[in-house]
Assembly symmetry: C2
Homo-oligomer: 211 residues x 2
């Protein structure tokens, strides 16, 4: 007996099967957020339109969910500096090669959400979370795939592309920690840019030697 | 014949063996950066001083390397909002429970670097990268462990702890994308807060249906 071939192709996200991607999401992001599923689809769309074999960096226009999809699926992370976030709240990302600054920007295109009411409700927060139908939402995201996205070619400002190298470090006379010397005579932490309302330094001797 | 027991314990980082942690670093961060090794030790130190069983969030005072150590070793990521970065350039992190705001801040304590000259040179960028001895540096980081760190109890500002919930979205009349309505009549992207110097939207019909 011949085995019937699967006709419906599983959604694939940057060479991961859909369910494999969900596992990555759960493990890194902690839970399967709809924004991570949509985000994976967006990263995949950007990838597919990049010139082959180029090194690239990422720019993300929101800090919600999407940075994690980029960090899971590309070599770009916040800590290695290849992913930068300018949090203006648009659900959009750009992958760009950093020699010439040419990139592909992928965004959610609101009119394209119309055929997917649960997705539209979630995206625009039109319904409180407890009234959302999570299964239907994930189903619509899968069905929609990259149909709800737009993409465009962009060119990045060379000023932005240039990596910011620290010039040197100074010891802050207030906290006695190291900070970038270009910040001035006091570190920005001691200038009140941190949300600590109480600090109590443990004496040197009390620090355990650790593992 | 009795097998001789290993007497020297391998450095362990949040329940990962040292080499296992290096694998995680390579896979997520792309390469074994010294800052990631030191960062792992710092996250481990913070973890060991947290009250057991509490949920916690993370605050990182630099965007270089350390956020990735936090993202690899804790449930806190940029995209899920449990890791927030205030980039003031101090190599320090705080894990805090978000009910009361009490946390443990771990920082590099400069005087403690004195016995580790290669580590000190690297940390303060006293030598150009090509003159650094990478093996010696990693060896010193391993030997030093958390001895080069200090830690302190901190309390976070309740204003900072409160999650920022988006109130609603508007359609930007310029780019026609969704943005947080509290930003005003135009999205911040169209207000010039993004480093694009050229954009060319692909027409709707040209968007591939995707996977």
């Amino acid at each position: 007996m011949q085995v019937k071939e699967k006709t419906q192709q599983e959604l694939s996200i940057c060479n991961h099967g859909y369910h494999e991607y969900l596992q990555l999401v759960r493990s890194f992001h902690g839970h399967i957020a709809p924004g991570m599923v949509l985000g994976g689809i967006m990263v995949d769309l950007a990838y597919r339109h990049l010139p082959e074999g180029e090194f690239f960096d990422a720019l993300c226009e929101t800090k919600k969910c999407l940075p994690d999809a980029i960090q899971i699926l590309t070599p770009c992370t916040v800590g290695n500096g290849w992913l930068r976030i300018i949090d203006i709240g648009r659900y959009a990302l750009t992958l760009f090669e950093k020699q010439g600054g040419v990139g592909i920007r992928v965004f959610v295109d609101p009119p394209k959400l119309e055929p997917f009411p649960e997705l539209k409700n979630w995206f625009f927060k039109l319904k409180p979370k407890k009234e959302q139908d999570r299964d239907l939402l994930l189903d619509e995201i899968q069905k929609a795939g990259s149909m709800v996205c737009g993409f465009e070619e962009v060119r990045l400002d060379p000023e932005f592309i240039r990596a910011d190298h620290r010039k040197g470090f100074a010891l802050c006379p207030s906290c006695h920690e190291a900070y970038p010397s270009e910040h001035g005579p006091l570190c920005h932490g001691c200038h009140g840019q941190l949300p600590y309302i109480q600090q109590s330094k443990v004496k040197s001797g009390a620090v355990s030697k650790g593992p």
